[in-house]
Amino acid sequence: MTTLQVLPQTPMGIALVLASLLSTVVGLFIGYQAYRGFRRNHSTPMRFLSLGLLLLATSYGLAFTGTMLLRQGTIPLQYQNPIRLGVRLVQLTGLSCILYSLYRRP
Protein backbone atom coordinates (compact mmCIF):
# COMPACT_ATOMS: atom_id res chain seq x y z
CA MET A 1 0.00 0.00 0.00
CA THR A 2 1.33 3.40 -0.85
CA THR A 3 1.11 6.33 1.51
CA LEU A 4 -1.45 8.00 -0.73
CA GLN A 5 -3.83 5.05 -0.46
CA VAL A 6 -3.57 5.15 3.31
CA LEU A 7 -4.45 8.82 3.65
CA PRO A 8 -8.15 9.22 4.41
CA GLN A 9 -10.37 10.15 1.52
CA THR A 10 -13.57 10.67 3.44
CA PRO A 11 -14.40 13.95 5.20
CA MET A 12 -14.49 12.12 8.53
CA GLY A 13 -11.09 10.61 7.88
CA ILE A 14 -9.60 13.97 6.96
CA ALA A 15 -11.17 15.56 10.03
CA LEU A 16 -9.65 12.88 12.25
CA VAL A 17 -6.17 13.37 10.81
CA LEU A 18 -6.42 17.14 11.10
CA ALA A 19 -7.64 16.93 14.68
CA SER A 20 -4.76 14.62 15.62
CA LEU A 21 -2.19 16.86 13.97
CA LEU A 22 -3.60 20.01 15.54
CA SER A 23 -3.74 18.38 18.97
CA THR A 24 -0.07 17.50 18.70
CA VAL A 25 0.90 20.98 17.52
CA VAL A 26 -1.14 22.85 20.14
CA GLY A 27 0.06 20.50 22.87
CA LEU A 28 3.68 21.03 21.82
CA PHE A 29 3.20 24.80 21.81
CA ILE A 30 1.77 24.85 25.33
CA GLY A 31 4.59 22.58 26.47
CA TYR A 32 7.04 24.99 24.87
CA GLN A 33 5.57 27.98 26.76
CA ALA A 34 5.78 25.96 29.98
CA TYR A 35 9.42 25.21 29.17
CA ARG A 36 10.10 28.92 28.59
CA GLY A 37 8.44 29.63 31.93
CA PHE A 38 10.86 27.18 33.54
CA ARG A 39 13.89 28.79 31.87
CA ARG A 40 12.87 32.40 32.52
CA ASN A 41 11.75 31.94 36.10
CA HIS A 42 13.99 29.06 37.19
CA SER A 43 10.91 27.30 38.45
CA THR A 44 11.10 23.57 39.22
CA PRO A 45 7.32 23.00 39.04
CA MET A 46 7.38 24.47 35.54
CA ARG A 47 10.16 22.11 34.57
CA PHE A 48 7.96 19.13 35.35
CA LEU A 49 4.84 20.72 33.92
CA SER A 50 6.61 21.36 30.63
CA LEU A 51 8.00 17.80 30.59
CA GLY A 52 4.55 16.39 31.28
CA LEU A 53 2.83 18.51 28.63
CA LEU A 54 5.47 17.69 26.03
CA LEU A 55 5.07 13.98 26.78
CA LEU A 56 1.29 14.27 26.39
CA ALA A 57 1.67 16.12 23.09
CA THR A 58 4.18 13.49 21.94
CA SER A 59 1.73 10.72 22.80
CA TYR A 60 -0.76 12.24 20.34
CA GLY A 61 1.92 12.25 17.69
CA LEU A 62 2.94 8.68 18.47
CA ALA A 63 -0.66 7.46 18.34
CA PHE A 64 -1.16 9.17 15.00
CA THR A 65 2.10 7.89 13.48
CA GLY A 66 1.48 4.40 14.83
CA THR A 67 -2.00 4.26 13.33
CA MET A 68 -0.73 5.44 9.95
CA LEU A 69 2.17 2.97 9.88
CA LEU A 70 -0.07 0.09 10.94
CA ARG A 71 -2.61 0.91 8.26
CA GLN A 72 0.16 1.17 5.69
CA GLY A 73 1.45 -2.24 6.66
CA THR A 74 4.94 -0.94 7.47
CA ILE A 75 4.39 -2.26 10.97
CA PRO A 76 2.80 -5.74 11.24
CA LEU A 77 -0.63 -5.82 12.85
CA GLN A 78 0.57 -7.88 15.82
CA TYR A 79 2.26 -4.71 17.09
CA GLN A 80 -1.01 -2.85 17.37
CA ASN A 81 -1.57 -3.59 21.06
CA PRO A 82 2.06 -3.04 22.09
CA ILE A 83 1.94 0.34 20.33
CA ARG A 84 -1.29 1.22 22.11
CA LEU A 85 0.34 0.26 25.40
CA GLY A 86 3.38 2.36 24.57
CA VAL A 87 1.21 5.40 23.87
CA ARG A 88 -0.69 4.93 27.14
CA LEU A 89 2.57 4.59 29.06
CA VAL A 90 3.87 7.86 27.57
CA GLN A 91 0.60 9.52 28.58
CA LEU A 92 0.83 8.08 32.07
CA THR A 93 4.39 9.35 32.46
CA GLY A 94 3.32 12.79 31.25
CA LEU A 95 0.40 12.93 33.65
CA SER A 96 2.64 11.79 36.50
CA CYS A 97 5.05 14.62 35.75
CA ILE A 98 2.20 17.13 35.86
CA LEU A 99 0.94 15.64 39.13
CA TYR A 100 4.44 15.85 40.60
CA SER A 101 4.75 19.50 39.52
CA LEU A 102 1.57 20.26 41.50
CA TYR A 103 3.08 18.94 44.68
CA ARG A 104 6.61 20.13 44.17
CA ARG A 105 6.68 23.66 45.51
CA PRO A 106 9.31 26.03 44.04
Binding site: A34, G37, L49, P106
Partner: protein, 117 residues
Protein backbone atom coordinates in the same frame (compact mmCIF):
# COMPACT_ATOMS: atom_id res chain seq x y z
CA UNK B 1 13.58 76.36 23.87
CA UNK B 2 10.87 73.88 24.75
CA UNK B 3 11.79 70.49 26.20
CA UNK B 4 9.61 67.57 27.07
CA UNK B 5 9.99 66.66 30.77
CA UNK B 6 9.60 62.98 29.97
CA UNK B 7 12.44 63.37 27.47
CA UNK B 8 14.90 64.72 30.04
CA UNK B 9 13.85 62.17 32.67
CA UNK B 10 14.24 59.19 30.34
CA UNK B 11 17.47 60.52 28.82
CA UNK B 12 18.90 61.01 32.28
CA UNK B 13 18.04 57.45 33.36
CA UNK B 14 19.24 55.83 30.13
CA UNK B 15 22.49 57.76 30.35
CA UNK B 16 23.52 55.52 33.23
CA UNK B 17 25.28 52.26 32.24
CA UNK B 18 23.83 50.34 35.18
CA UNK B 19 20.27 51.35 34.31
CA UNK B 20 20.90 50.25 30.75
CA UNK B 21 22.40 47.02 32.03
CA UNK B 22 19.32 46.37 34.16
CA UNK B 23 17.06 46.92 31.16
CA UNK B 24 19.23 44.70 28.95
CA UNK B 25 19.10 41.82 31.41
CA UNK B 26 15.44 42.12 32.31
CA UNK B 27 14.36 42.37 28.69
CA UNK B 28 15.45 38.74 28.37
CA UNK B 29 14.19 37.28 31.61
CA UNK B 30 12.84 38.46 34.95
CA UNK B 31 15.64 39.06 37.48
CA UNK B 32 15.95 39.84 41.15
CA UNK B 33 17.94 42.80 42.44
CA UNK B 34 20.64 40.42 43.68
CA UNK B 35 21.10 38.83 40.27
CA UNK B 36 21.11 42.25 38.63
CA UNK B 37 23.83 43.38 41.02
CA UNK B 38 25.96 40.40 39.85
CA UNK B 39 25.07 40.93 36.20
CA UNK B 40 25.88 44.64 36.22
CA UNK B 41 28.82 44.23 38.60
CA UNK B 42 27.40 46.98 40.79
CA UNK B 43 26.63 47.22 44.47
CA UNK B 44 23.14 46.38 45.66
CA UNK B 45 22.36 49.96 46.83
CA UNK B 46 23.35 51.26 43.38
CA UNK B 47 21.06 48.73 41.73
CA UNK B 48 18.17 49.61 44.01
CA UNK B 49 18.66 53.30 43.20
CA UNK B 50 18.59 52.60 39.47
CA UNK B 51 15.57 50.33 39.88
CA UNK B 52 13.73 53.15 41.59
CA UNK B 53 14.68 55.63 38.87
CA UNK B 54 13.61 53.21 36.17
CA UNK B 55 10.31 52.55 37.91
CA UNK B 56 9.65 56.30 38.21
CA UNK B 57 9.89 56.52 34.43
CA UNK B 58 7.67 53.48 34.06
CA UNK B 59 10.47 51.56 32.37
CA UNK B 60 10.64 48.64 34.78
CA UNK B 61 7.91 46.36 36.12
CA UNK B 62 8.09 44.55 39.44
CA UNK B 63 6.59 41.22 40.38
CA UNK B 64 7.00 38.93 43.36
CA UNK B 65 8.13 35.32 43.22
CA UNK B 66 8.12 32.72 45.98
CA UNK B 67 11.47 31.37 47.13
CA UNK B 68 12.09 27.84 48.52
CA UNK B 69 11.36 29.02 52.08
CA UNK B 70 7.98 30.36 51.08
CA UNK B 71 9.06 33.99 51.35
CA UNK B 72 8.59 36.36 48.47
CA UNK B 73 11.19 38.36 46.65
CA UNK B 74 10.88 40.86 43.82
CA UNK B 75 11.84 40.25 40.23
CA UNK B 76 11.96 42.93 37.59
CA UNK B 77 11.13 42.97 33.90
CA UNK B 78 11.92 45.67 31.37
CA UNK B 79 8.94 47.62 30.09
CA UNK B 80 10.82 49.80 27.64
CA UNK B 81 10.31 48.73 24.04
CA UNK B 82 11.17 51.84 22.10
CA UNK B 83 12.49 55.28 22.83
CA UNK B 84 12.45 57.92 20.07
CA UNK B 85 13.27 61.59 20.04
CA UNK B 86 11.71 64.07 17.63
CA UNK B 87 12.77 67.62 17.03
CA UNK B 88 10.50 69.73 14.94
CA UNK B 89 10.25 73.47 14.65
CA UNK B 90 12.06 74.06 17.92
CA UNK B 91 9.97 71.52 19.81
CA UNK B 92 11.38 68.36 21.34
CA UNK B 93 9.16 65.38 21.85
CA UNK B 94 9.92 61.97 23.27
CA UNK B 95 8.13 58.81 22.28
CA UNK B 96 8.36 56.03 24.83
CA UNK B 97 6.76 52.75 23.94
CA UNK B 98 6.26 50.50 26.92
CA UNK B 99 4.93 47.00 27.39
CA UNK B 100 1.49 47.22 28.92
CA UNK B 101 1.86 46.80 32.71
CA UNK B 102 -0.81 44.12 32.82
CA UNK B 103 0.46 42.25 29.80
CA UNK B 104 3.42 40.00 30.23
CA UNK B 105 5.08 37.04 28.70
CA UNK B 106 2.64 34.11 28.48
CA UNK B 107 5.33 31.85 29.86
CA UNK B 108 5.57 34.04 33.02
CA UNK B 109 1.79 34.19 33.31
CA UNK B 110 1.57 30.42 33.08
CA UNK B 111 4.32 30.06 35.69
CA UNK B 112 2.53 32.38 38.13
CA UNK B 113 -0.81 30.71 37.50
CA UNK B 114 0.57 27.22 37.96
CA UNK B 115 2.58 28.03 41.06
CA UNK B 116 -0.45 29.52 42.71
CA UNK B 117 -2.53 26.37 42.30
Amino acid sequence: MSEDSELTAVLSVLNDEYARGILTATSQEPMSAKKLSEYCDASLPTIYRRIEELQECGLLAERTRPDPDGNHYSVYTARLERFAVDLSDGEWAATVERTDAAEDDPADRLTRMWEEL
